[in-house]
């Protein structure tokens, strides 16, 4: 197990180096930040001076080495727009994004798993139909549209929740539902078909013929086996949630990483883009690692060594 973990960790380092290289190249190829850094009427000499002071006049590979040297020490440079260390900006916004992603995941998992199980066990019931509708709507509704619809309904018409911003629990409800809906639909459909699949297996028939109560059959045997694919997908959904945060954060004025990243892209704020992408990559890699470990724990047939 330890060797497996070490190997996985070293893979993760390679992935992060790869991501940093790709981000660096894409950002540098997409344009020159100096022209956006100054007002439109700045003189060409001013632009040159800024390029030099940002180190943009040096060859690309030297800029990359410089970047890596700093990044290893946690120094991604000074944000061009905010004139503050880029990593600080990212870390300031990290709690908001994590809160949103975890709440969204919570909404998704807590509704998807029971709904999926019930829909599979009682295949002809209204719950099953409801689950199918929720699954279809959840996966086909654009996040943006769902968010605005919730705001119109719950804030403007019914005055139940604040339309946007970060504050107490009441501020979190709509963004969490919005960001979690897609994953909820995804996980629920998967859960339903996984349970259906497991229920048809021989060991379930054996359990039933032993005279085990149906509840125990479902909880002890069917659920545990059905959860294996669901855990994997849930882990992958975390990455989807972080990506979805960009839109949800914009709609709900949520002061998170996604919005920082969008603004940084618009302003070609290279240090901030690199720091934000790197931190997001670290989180996704870490969650994938944890998922893999959970997977091997849940499924005794998966053992790496």
């Amino acid at each position: 197990m330890t060797r497996y973990m070490l190997r996985r960790l070293s893979h993760s380092v390679f992935i992060l180096v790869g991501i940093s290289l790709v981000t660096f190249l894409l950002v540098h190829l997409s344009g020159d930040p100096a022209s956006l850094y100054l007002p439109l009427d700045a003189s060409p000499e001013d632009v040159e001076a800024v390029r030099a002071s940002l180190g943009l006049d040096r060859p690309l590979h030297r800029q990359y080495l410089e970047f890596v040297r700093g990044a290893v020490r946690g120094d991604f440079g000074i944000s061009l727009r905010h004139r503050e260390p880029a990593l600080n900006l990212v870390i300031q916004r990290l709690p908001a994004t994590l809160q949103l992603a975890v709440a969204g995941m919570g909404v998704a998992v807590l509704t998807a798993i029971p709904l999926g199980v019930v829909a599979a066990v009682r295949r002809e019931s209204p719950v099953s139909t409801l689950a199918s509708v929720a699954g279809l709507l959840g996966q086909s509704m654009p996040v943006f549209w769902l968010g605005l619809l919730l705001i119109l309904l719950l804030s403007v018409k019914m005055r139940l929740l604040p339309p946007s911003g970060r504050g107490g629990i009441s501020h979190l409800i709509m963004p969490a539902v919005t960001i979690g809906t897609y994953s909820m639909a995804m996980v629920m459909r998967l859960m339903r078909s996984a349970v259906l699949d497991v229920l048809g297996r021989d060991f379930i028939r054996t359990a039933r013929s032993k005279g085990l109560p149906e509840r125990l059959v479902i909880y002890r045997h069917a659920l545990r086996n059905a959860l294996i694919p669901v855990v994997t997908v849930t882990g992958l959904q975390f990455g989807v949630l972080l990506g979805g945060a960009v839109i949800t954060e914009t709609v709900f004025s949520w002061p998170g990483l996604g919005r920082l990243l969008i603004q940084a892209f618009n302003n070609r704020d290279m240090p901030t883009i690199q720091a934000a992408v790197f931190v997001m990559a670290v989180m996704i890699v870490a969650v994938n690692l944890i998922t893999d470990l959970a997977y091997s724990h849940l499924d005794p047939t998966v053992r790496f060594g």
């Binding site: 007002p39 004139r83 619809l149 018409k157 005055r159 970060r166 078909s193 002061p255």
Partner: protein, 519 residues
Amino acid sequence: MLSARRHSHVSQGMSLLLVLGMIGILVLAGCGSRPAATEAIEEESELIIAQGVDATTLDPNMHAEAPTTNVVSNIYDSLLIRDEDGEIRPSLAESLSNVDDHTWELTLRDDVEFHNGEPFDAESVRYTIKRILDPENNSPQAGDLSAIKHVEVLDDYTVRLITHQPFPTLPAQLVDRQMVPPIYTEEKGADRLSSQPVGTGPYRFVSWKRDEKIVLEANEDYWRGTPSIKKVVFRVVPENSTRIAELQAGKVDLIVNVPPHQAEDLESSPDTRVERVPSTRVIFVATVSDEPGPLADPRVRRALNLAVDAESIIDSVLQGNGIPLQGQPVTENHFGFNPAVDPSGYDPQKARDLLAEAGYQDGLSLEMDTPDGRYLMDKEVAQAVAGQLQQVGVDVSLNIREWGVFVERIMNRQTAPLVLVGWGNSTFDADATVYPWFRTGQRFCFYENAEVDQLLDDARETMDEEARLQTYHQVMEILSDDAPWIFLHQQMDIYGVSERLDWTARPDERIEVFDADIR
């Protein structure tokens, strides 16, 4: 394996339920009662303003953006201010006079303190101006003051600004230059000034949560009097529709950048209203006429102007939220506007004739660049212009560019021969528009005319107001005839305002909370 049996359960009942569910959502969203809007904001003298982006810094000397100005102009004061009518008035400087063509003498108020108790005096002025000009600081405002050669402190409350050459627009440039405290800034550093600003203005800084909100409280000892609104919150709400929902839900009092097609909702509600004001921003299509090609011929440029109906674009694309330009690049609020210029108007037949005269009776093809989302309905305006040019046989292929790419192409002079641009000029003086755009060798000058160059240089160094005005009138005559731009419109700034707020929109985009009141 996992999905093998899923589809067998899709029944007709489900699709019916789906349709009913969707209708239900739409119905719920479409009706419902609207309780009083103002219940949500608890404190009576608290004002909440929602802007699309956060301030980038609270250091007033190190930015060049309107959303940041809106915040810092409530914390700091400048030497001179502009009143609602656009007239320049004394502020921290009680008076301003010319000792000679190169020397301006400012007499400062002697009763002003910064929020930390530091006195405001001549040294604050010297320090602030030097700070903006110091190349080490990379201030985006340095260009505005580059004419200043030297700042001379005569006594505690008298300063002289000495310019390299006569610089008649200096007062306009001083309007937006806010004074910072020298001792605080030197001791604590620029980073501290940026995150915990100290000014002389009507509001003191309380807190700043990045991308969330900035909180200010009234400066009870303010030298112009005690502000009637006691607390101001600047919130960041990036999405237009969400900003409108915040206003409708009564959670904010004032929102900026209302899209024209959503203004009507706010106007029809008893709790909210819309404030419109002609902005200093003009929208136009610049032509690259200093390179060989059809656009080098003034007849072609004139034809393009005749072919475009700015009024119909304003009506159809902007729902009336614009004012047509009068055949010249500045608005009637700008010094230098020439009321005698006769705009060419809309005449497609004449346009076709002119094109034929220039040898393009079979039409011509041109490329055009436009940004997307930078100005009010910019892409849509560009599409309308292209459509109208098509009518006279000018085939326009439109390139919609991401802003960063768009700017870079202009900066490197690689732009398409037609390019839709918006230009804001809050100095209210023609110079800040016509010099960069029509003086050969300037960054945005894609036009060549030696006579205009000479006139623009002369105007820059003429201290006599009347003579300067005459010079600009001449420039406007020439530009109207020579048509280096397709003149489109002056943009409107649209604000959504809660009925409980007594506030009038200003043409310079500023939100001066000191002048506002809560009913």
